[in-house]
């Protein structure tokens, strides 16, 4: 039996300070940056939200879902369906509806799959993810394989989502609120129960917990949060397609979460940012000695991922933590 994946639940004070500084940097970013950078970072924040939703399931509860993109994409589709041809829809009605739809789907699927465990759980989630994907891919009425446009960004009333800066800060606020909420959840009775389930489900059941409802709650909540991210993605890009519900999107998400370091949500954020950023970085690489690195970015990406998994078993966050604690003497050793 292989070891359970190392998670970093407690962050050293040094790391926490670093992250706080990074957050301030993030908040100040739009003041000096180009339009493109603001949009790109907004996108990374949306992916970070998406990653955190999976981390609740994967890092905290130990349930690896290969079909999580379904809840992301569904919310985007709801926004697309709710947005009329020639005007915007209200943020305050469409966002809750979208998240509700994702939560409902997650509840439905979760009720069925949460009974399985391990690799079987992974595959069951994948199966349902694929079913939802094909439902949208095959049906012209739902947009078909070419997808749908979201014709207008949602109307918010007292701020304007069409304004790049407003959208950035709205997303940032969502990110911080969700992060705060999830951290609170982590230390709440539910959160502790979920972590207990990850470590040893049998023991939790023996002690009297109804692990089924706990897992189902986590699954549904994760789905709802993924819906928030999907809604924002649809609002920002204005284009929803079935691939946003598909296997590859789900697989990429899992990679982001593992890459960043699981179990404490900051890792999920870092993983999302790092994955997106390195992808763009590698595609930008120059031609060296006649070899076009940018064109062969897959080679660099592959090596990068292999390197991270070999040398950083606790992901980027874990690595960062070790780096900080080394410069810090013995303070702030990670709690595995």
């Amino acid at each position: 039996m292989s070891a359970s994946h190392a998670t970093t639940t407690h962050l050293s004070p040094a790391l926490m300070r670093a992250l706080a500084i990074a957050t301030v940097g993030l908040a100040l970013l739009p003041l000096g940056a180009e339009d493109y950078t603001i949009d790109a970072v907004t996108r990374m924040m949306i992916l970070a939200l998406f990653a955190m939703s999976l981390d609740l399931l994967q890092g905290v509860t130990g349930l690896v879902s290969l079909g999580h993109a379904a809840y992301f994409g569904l919310a985007g589709y709801v926004l697309a369906f709710l947005t009329p041809e020639s005007e915007a829809v209200s943020l305050w009605t469409s966002l809750p509806l979208a998240m509700l739809a994702s939560a409902a789907l997650a509840l439905l699927v979760g009720a069925l799959v949460v009974r399985t465990s391990g690799i079987y759980f992974i595959m069951s989630t994948m199966a349902f993810g694929q079913m939802v994907f094909y439902l949208f891919f095959d049906n012209k009425a739902l947009g078909g394989s070419d997808g749908l446009f979201v014709n207008f960004r949602p109307q918010a009333g007292w701020f304007d989502l069409d304004n790049r800066l407003h959208f950035f800060y709205f997303t940032l606020v969502c990110l911080l609120l969700v992060y705060g909420f999830l951290r609170r959840l982590l230390h709440s009775p539910l959160g502790r129960a979920l972590q207990g389930i990850r470590v040893n489900e049998h023991r939790m059941r023996a002690v009297g917990f109804n692990t089924y409802t706990h897992k189902l709650s986590a699954f549904t909540l994760s789905g709802a949060l993924a819906g928030l991210a999907g809604y924002l993605w649809g609002a920002q890009t204005g284009f929803i397609n079935p691939e946003l519900m598909g296997f590859h999107w789900s697989a990429h998400l899992i990679m982001m979460v593992i890459l960043g370091g699981m179990g404490n949500f900051a890792g999920a954020i870092i993983g999302a940012f790092a994955f997106e950023y390195t992808l763009h970085l590698f595609k930008d690489l120059p031609v060296i000695a006649g070899f076009d690195l940018g064109q062969h970015w897959q080679l660099v990406m592959g090596l990068f991922i292999v390197a991270v998994v070999v040398w950083l078993p606790q992901g980027l966050l874990g690595g960062l933590q070790r780096l900080m604690s080394r410069g810090d003497g013995q303070r702030g050793a990670p709690h595995a």
Partner: protein, 395 residues
């Protein structure tokens, strides 16, 4: 040095590097007189061959005319779109917002094209579509700055129906993948075949991109139509022809297809491709001086054989040159630029063609038969065929 200071230094370094990284690239944004051309194409994955071919051919077209557009130097950009629709908008924005390109040449995959369309439609960027045949781009969602130099998904099959009936095949089964391109190809086939008096006995579809055809080939054999018409492309097309022949249907039930069935895959399909008839706006064996000199030049420059996708990329270059020359490089003169591009007559290796009002090629479609490993042109299936451009509110 206190540890606190160390930490602050470290984090500042991290944040600093990250933000300069994000503010990469270095590219000279200053007032340069260069035209910025960006390729958004698949350089990896299933369609890599197409993407690379289009890139090569576009550049060749420009080089042949002096390497400049309307007298101005060119700055090239390129981005691998991985044929991933989920990243369509993001990738297009990278070229448009970050690299500030003037002209976007892209792309191959229709799903990704929708993403590009979302970005360019309400901007000033000129989008030349070198392949993606999605109807909406030159129909309901047409735009003055979007020009297609390839085809619309129903054009090849619009040319197919009449030819099939003329050859005596009045009862056909249609088969393709269940996705937008397959459905749009069917639209063209249904229209032309039924108009010519043919009957579509059954329309079969299999999930995209599955290539297990046996079950449906068995069904075709049971139905016993005069002919089979289909739309497949790439590896799947090669397999379909092989499976068709292996199932003994070849020779008994005539096989027709939208030309992509036999593009770039004849070698892979082997003898199974012999005798397959298709319609397309190009053929490698087109016996015209223009095509011959193009093929020679391309093979010499890139050590590869060109195909329909290459020609489409090449023509995108020719179109842009026509436009840029007409305005003497002043791309901000949109009225004149678009007028020039709309009225351009492209001297293409496929034969001369012109732009329709919705910015899709009006072109001849050749009837081709695979003979001795080559798509031999046996006739013209349709002359000056245009896409209806339904729903386009331009012109």
């Amino acid at each position: 040095m206190t540890s606190r200071r160390q930490i602050l230094k470290q984090t500042a370094a991290v944040v600093g590097t990250a933000s300069t990284g994000l503010l990469l690239p270095e590219i000279v944004r200053a007032q340069s007189n260069k035209v910025r051309v960006g390729f958004m194409l698949p350089y990896t994955g299933t369609f890599a061959q197409l993407g690379i071919g289009i890139d090569n051919a576009f550049r060749m077209a420009i080089d042949e005319q002096g390497g400049k557009l309307g007298g101005r130097e060119i700055e090239w950009f390129k981005l691998d779109d991985e044929s991933n629709p989920a990243k369509g908008v993001e990738n297009a924005q990278r070229l448009v917002q970050r690299d500030k390109i003037d002209i976007l040449v892209g792309t191959v995959h229709s799903g990704v094209q929708m993403g590009i369309h979302k970005v360019v439609r309400n901007t000033n960027v000129i989008n030349l579509i070198p392949n993606a045949g999605v109807h909406a781009a030159t129909r309901a969602l047409c735009a003055p700055n979007v020009f297609r130099t390839s085809f619309s998904n129903s054009q090849p099959t619009l040319a197919l129906g009449k030819a099939m009936v003329a050859r005596g095949h009045k009862k056909a089964v249609w088969i393709t993948w269940n996705y937008a391109a397959g459905a749009e190809a069917f639209e063209g086939f249904k229209q032309s075949y039924e108009a010519a008096g043919g009957t579509i006995v059954k329309s079969l579809g299999l999930p995209f991109p599955q290539v297990e055809f046996q079950a449906l080939l068995t069904e075709i054999a049971a139905i016993k139509p005069d002919a089979v018409a289909c739309f497949f492309a790439g590896g799947g097309a090669a397999k379909f022809m092989r499976d068709y022949a292996a199932a003994g249907l070849k020779g008994k039930i005539a096989l027709y297809g939208s030309g992509f069935l036999t593009e770039g895959v004849i070698e892979a399909a082997g003898p199974a491709a012999e005798g397959v008839i298709s319609t397309l706006h190009y053929s490698d064996s087109l016996d015209t001086p223009r095509n011959k000199s193009f093929r020679l030049a391309y093979a010499k420059a890139f050590k590869m054989q060109p195909d329909v996708y290459t020609v489409q990329g090449y023509d995108a270059g020719l179109l842009m040159i026509a436009g840029a020359n007409a305005v003497k490089g002043d791309l901000s003169n949109r009225k004149a630029l678009y007028a020039a591009m709309q009225s351009a007559k492209i001297d293409s290796p496929r034969g001369a063609w012109t732009m329709s009002k919705s910015h899709n090629p009006i072109q001849d479609f050749y009837l081709r038969e695979v003979v001795k490993g080559e798509n031999k042109v046996i006739g013209v299936a349709a002359k000056a065929l245009a896409d209806p451009g339904t729903g386009c509110r331009m012109g």
